[in-house]
């Protein structure tokens, strides 16, 4: 009896040892599959990042050209008795043009002059205007002023255009290249950090376009989204998880919440157009409507993650609270919610990050639009970052290519910050 037992034991051990090698090999293979899967994903991410950063990084610098600007009363059209309003309305582009002509006196043809004026950005006249309005003593003097270069000239100064390509195949002409080279030799060109990219709104001139309006728009939209989706989502989750009876109705609600999470976002946009704009007559293109629509999109995410977080709170906490005589409300508000809060916040932040990247629903409610002014409230017309990216990608001017990638970099930066915040909150509060 004993012998037989031993014998079968040996047999089993031998069988196990024989299969062990095979099983280890299978495990190693499996791990390699996993590693190559991670690696493939990582390679795609790297290609994407290299492409975007490569294309976008030139957008963070900007070229300026030093011009001896002649603030001549006559060219500007400012009389001796001019009011500040007259000064603001004066013709500053004429001053820039005449100053450029003085610097390059041998340009005489109409076409030649036109290409000369094209070296300087259209926006330069507005910065001159602001300078003179602030300091009217400039009138009548000649000053060396750094003026913003036109995007085509800037693109040449950034070495993005090859001089050797045929003239018909590039926007910058041979004669302009000659002038730019002269300016460069005289030390009259300078590359600076592109501050206006962060301090100005959209523009049709690539060198003047910035993301400030879109950033503010995104902020107001997300503010509305958060103020709506967070309280409603958490309330719904608490009630469904803690107080609601289990019956057919709550099952139905649960199924519908899960369903809503999978509805394409454009559907919510159509709903926003029909309900909030056409029926409630809320303004078009406003962050208010955008925020409400995005709140509808993020609600299911917040409810589902909050319920999971509340459900994961240990029963001992309930029992302890109930044991010392706390009511159900007290138990939930004083004990369960604080413990579940990291999970709830994580879910909310991920939901908000998702809302930050949405464009499709905003198309229907008029937030995909050219909006230059920075919005000052939730009812002002506004656009959001991903929409700004879409609009720039659609512009015919070549200078917007780098702006598009630069805006993508900013958007990705915000997404990384938000997701990192979610991780941080979870780690921080879980330790307590």
């Amino acid at each position: 009896m004993n012998n037989m037992n031993k014998e079968s034991n040996y047999k089993t051990t031998a069988a196990i040892q024989a299969s062990l090698k095979k099983r280890h090999a299978a495990e190693r293979r499996f791990q390699w599959y996993g590693r190559s899967a991670v690696l493939t994903g990582f390679i795609f991410l790297c290609i994407l990042m290299v492409d975007i950063v490569g294309k976008g990084s030139p957008a963070f610098t900007q070229h300026f050209i030093k011009v001896d600007v002649i603030f001549d009363r006559e060219t500007l059209g400012i009389h001796a008795s001019a009011t500040p309003a007259d000064i603001a309305q004066a013709d500053y582009s004429a001053a820039i043009k005449s100053s450029l002509r003085t610097m390059f006196p041998d340009v005489s043809t109409r076409v030649g002059k036109k290409s000369l004026y094209r070296l300087i950005s259209v926006g330069a006249q507005y910065s001159l205007r602001d300078m003179v309005v602030e300091n009217p003593a400039l009138i009548g003097t000649t000053r060396e002023i750094w003026l913003l270069a036109h995007s085509e000239a800037g693109s040449y100064l950034k070495n993005q255009v090859s001089k050797d390509s045929p003239e018909s195949e590039r926007k910058i002409k041979d004669i302009q290249i000659k002038w730019l080279e002269t300016l460069r030799e005289e030390g009259r060109t300078e590359s600076r950090f592109n501050r206006s990219f962060f301090t100005s709104g959209d523009s049709r001139e690539p060198e003047m376009a910035g993301i400030k309006a879109a950033l503010y728009g995104s902020f107001y939209t997300l503010l509305v989204t958060f103020l709506l989706a967070f309280p409603i989502g958490v309330m719904a989750a608490v009630y469904l998880e803690e107080f609601a009876p289990r019956n057919r109705l709550t099952d139905l609600i649960e199924i519908n919440i899960n369903n809503l999470a999978a509805v394409p976002s454009i559907v919510f946009g159509l709903l926003g157009l029909a309900v909030f704009i056409n029926f409630f007559e809320l303004p078009r293109s406003a962050p208010l409507v955008g925020g409400i629509v995005l709140a509808l999109i993020t609600l299911p995410t917040i409810i589902i993650t909050s319920r999971a977080a509340i459900g994961a709170v240990s029963p001992s906490i309930y029992q302890a609270a109930m044991g010392v005589g706390a009511s159900k409300l007290q138990t939930v508000v004083h004990h369960v919610l604080p413990v579940a809060m990291p999970g709830i916040l994580t879910g909310s932040i991920i939901g908000m990050a998702q809302a930050l990247g949405e464009t499709a629903p905003l198309l229907m409610i008029g937030m995909v639009a050219f909006i230059m002014d920075v919005p000052s409230g939730v009812t002002d017309p506004a656009t959001v970052l991903p929409v700004q990216i879409f609009l720039w990608a659609d512009s015919p001017e070549r200078g917007f290519t780098e702006k598009t990638s630069a805006a993508i970099m900013v958007l990705m930066g915000f997404l990384i910050i938000m997701n990192a915040l979610a991780v941080f909150l979870r780690k921080r509060f879980e330790l307590k």
Binding site: P283, P338, A369, F370, I371, V378, P381, D394
Partner: protein
Amino acid sequence: MKNFLVGAIVALATFGSIHSVQAASHESVSIVGSSTVYPFATVVAERFGRSTDFKTPTIESTGTGGGLKLFCSGLGANTPDITNASRRIKMSEYDDCQTSGVTDIVEVLVGYDGIAIANSTQSAELEISLYDIYLALAKDVPGADGKLIANPNITWEDVNPVLPPVKIEVLGPPPTSGTRDAFVELAMAGGAKAVPDLKELSAMSADQVDEIKAMMVKLGVPLGVYNALAERKGKAPKGKDIFTTLAYAIREDGAFIEAGENDNLIVQKLQANPDAVGIFGFSFLDENRDKVQGASVDGIVPTFDTIAGNEYPVSRPLYFYIKGAHVGKISGIQEYAIEFTSLKAMGEDGYLTERGLIPLSGEELKQIQNDVKNLNRLELE
């Protein structure tokens, strides 16, 4: 936890107050419409916003049809004040406007745009005629016996032996686009008129019922088309109506690919596929001369001068429409229109002209400026 509850309550209160503050009308001019006019309108809006005290108008690119639909949906703060169009307003749209209370419309012609038929600079330049375009892209074309048959042409060589033996692959705008409307009207219908029977059909009036029907039989078109049109219009269709139904239909067998409203995308696709041909606005051709080249149509190459001189056959007018009832209620509408139609913008040396808008003649411009100044009302019969 208390903080959280307080936060939530404050949040809800804030939201409530936002709600009540919500103004009765928008402060900046709201503009919708054509994606072709969009690049020009935004430039005007930007200059207007920077150089005046008015707020910068907001401009959405919805396509001509979509813009007119929004524009004609009624009066009030949540409807646009101006819509851009890359074709004239249609009678049906005008009627929609009238019924929803938008009776006071000012039409502003802003200039011309050519529709370029282009391919990659890596391949040979195309020289085609309107008839070639019709034969290459129509859903039904005349067969050997003169009856219309489903388009059998696979390569450009099938269309016209002098063209290269390359598969027909055309990227063009979707039906919501004004570019598409103008393209079918100018190029397809223009080419279809080279077929004598179709040309004859297009000239027949609504009274010539028997002639129209006889011609339809000759062309092999089922008479159901006639009845369906009669039912839709509510009256007897003209020969022209039958003609447009036939000539405007673009083939759906994959040779024509709808590429969306994004003209940059078409340019990129052409670069990737040198055999493909794209259809888009002249300003995109002008900006991307290093990547794509325009085909000559009926011997005319699309350039600034040939479009301005009305020589290039596929060119169309660009418009915007002002909602007269909103002028005075929303500040800046008329001032924006005046800026748009000023010599500084639309003149020979204007900043829009520099951007590729083909300007109006001096007399036309004066007439338009006058219309804007007096807000002359558009009457369509």
